[in-house]
């Protein structure tokens, strides 16, 4: 299996810290042979540069191969940074309007995101923890609106030739369903939302119907979440085995171009 999104580093609101190698070894023990990882510490910095830099220095030798993703704040960093991140070996960019506090529709933001997208995959991260336990400070942060998201997706994908390599990660199931009414273009989604596979137990099937089996990937959200959660969602779903195989491996490779 390939984990399309996991993380190492430190989570600032509770006692949770894990090295890149520890995350990779744990994923290996769960049956993952590759993973795409970002640095959680960098996500909480307005300027993620130093967190990303530290991340490049972290040892990655493990039984699960680590592909590194840079955290990117398009409201603070610029196109030059994108190119530097590419030179540093990052294969994609993780951005979170919630944490970085920007609107997806700003001209500068969209320009920088387009540059990122031209240089790798782009992961738009909704939340990595349950919104009900957010620190009080985040009550004042932006909330991603579906109209804003669909507008940004349309603009970002319009200039792309070939595969649109954008992943919406950790989005609630209900948002992914409603988004399809506003945006019917290509985009990847994952099963990391805590809502997927509750009653009526058909959420994975519905996501595959809405987005296509080639556009769903398996993200664990580990180290924030227990890694088996996403795996079990996929295993317990009633989609064909062939689709499960694509979701567990091939789709992530295509998304990241690795």
């Amino acid at each position: 299996m390939i984990d399309a999104l996991c993380m190492s580093g430190s989570y600032p609101f509770r006692h949770l810290t894990m090295s890149t190698r520890a995350v990779a070894e744990r994923l290996a023990s769960e049956g993952f042979r590759e993973c795409f990882m970002f640095n959680l510490t960098a996500l909480f910095h307005r300027d993620p540069w130093w967190g990303n830099l530290d991340f490049t220095r972290e040892e990655t030798e493990a039984n699960c191969r680590v592909h590194k993703l840079a955290v990117f704040n398009p409201d603070y960093e610029d196109r030059v940074r994108v190119r530097e991140y590419v030179k540093m070996g990052f294969v994609g960019f993780v951005t979170s309007p919630i944490y970085h506090g920007y609107r997806l529709t700003g001209r500068r933001v969209l320009g920088n995101l387009a540059e990122a997208l031209n240089n790798g995959a782009l992961v738009i991260l909704d939340l990595v923890e349950d919104p009900r336990q957010l620190h009080r400070a985040y009550a004042f942060r932006f909330r991603l609106r579906l109209g804003e998201l669909s507008d940004a997706l349309r603009r970002l994908s319009s200039g792309i030739e070939g595969e649109v390599r954008i992943l919406l990660s950790h989005f609630p199931y209900s948002d992914l369903v409603n988004l399809r009414n506003l945006y019917s273009g290509p985009v990847y989604v994952d099963l990391a939302s805590s809502q997927v596979l509750g009653a009526p137990y058909s959420h994975v099937e519905e996501l595959v119907k809405l987005y296509g089996s080639s556009n769903v990937v398996l993200s664990t959200g580990f180290m924030m979440k227990y890694p088996k959660s996403s795996v079990l969602k996929l295993q317990l779903s009633k989609i064909p085995d062939e689709d499960k195989g694509k979701i567990a491996t091939l789709n992530a490779h295509r998304l990241y171009g690795v």
């Binding site: 009900r132 336990q133 009080r136 805590s194 009526p200 979440k225 317990l236 085995d241």
Partner: protein
């Protein structure tokens, strides 16, 4: 993908719900059997009721639905859903425990359990030595809901009824589980279930560390993948895992082995 290969070894799902749509219940039973869950402690899905303060006739009807489900599926054991504000709250509690073989009481969001109006219902539970499962919100932000119990309300009830066997519901159902377990740490008659949608790494370990392995119960609250992942991924000893999965629940209903 490899087969699921999960066997929870006769686990007890200490907190789940049934729905008016029988196909959902059948699917839940099927998944539970596949995973080795031996008992499901079931109350009616509260969002499928007309309100959080359902009138008496609706309360009787939904509990009868659970009773019929328990007759159809051997895994299902009933928890009687009670609205303590109804005049017949004690009567309905007593009826389903004493006449229908239900093994516990479920309180939802009709009223916070720090209010004395719940006391007669708790007294029936104590008298029959059955657990009381209390829906609890662990979110600290942004605002509390007026009739939804929080860990401090559980604390208040547990101190009023030291003989009551109280289950504080779904610490992993959203919110601050670290705070939640800390607030009931010194109350030996309070158990917690680790049901709900949140799969935060470390949540089960924290509950076991703070409360001890004897006071933590496996539960899904219908969200099966997250629940199974939590208990399988948690770094617990095999002995503690079996306690959480099964033994604590059986002990709670006097079926200890």
């Amino acid at each position: 993908m490899a087969s699921i290969g999960v066997d929870l070894g006769g686990a007890v799902d200490a907190h789940t719900h049934c729905y008016p749509d029988m196909s959902i219940n059948e699917e839940m039973i099927k998944l539970s059997r596949m995973l080795g869950i031996e008992q499901l402690w079931v109350s009616y899905h509260p969002y499928s009721m007309s309100s959080f303060r359902p009138p008496p006739e609706e309360v009787w009807r939904v509990n009868e639905f659970v009773y019929n489900l328990s007759r159809r599926f051997r895994e299902v054991r009933g928890f009687v859903h009670v609205n303590p504000l109804n005049e017949d709250a004690v009567k309905v509690t007593r009826h389903f425990i004493e006449e229908r073989g239900f093994i516990g009481v479920k309180l939802y969001r009709a009223v916070r359990v720090n209010r004395r109006v719940v006391d007669p219902v708790i007294e029936v539970a104590v008298e029959n030595d059955v657990p009381v499962l209390i829906h609890t919100a662990h979110r600290l932000y942004p605002n509390p809901r007026p009739n939804e119990s929080e860990p401090d309300d559980i604390r208040s009830l547990a101190l009023r009824f030291p003989r009551a066997k109280i289950i504080m519901a779904h610490i992993t159902g959203g919110g601050d589980w670290e705070y939640a377990v800390g607030r009931v740490r010194d109350l030996p008659n309070v158990y917690v279930d680790v049901g709900g949608s949140v799969a935060d790494y470390g949540s089960v370990e924290e509950a076991v560390k703070v409360l001890g392995a004897d006071r933590v119960l496996f539960a899904t609250d219908t969200l099966i993948a997250a629940a199974v992942a939590r208990i399988l991924d948690a770094e617990l000893s095999d002995e503690d895992r079996v306690k959480v999965l099964r033994l604590n629940a059986l002990r709670l209903i006097g079926d200890g082995q």
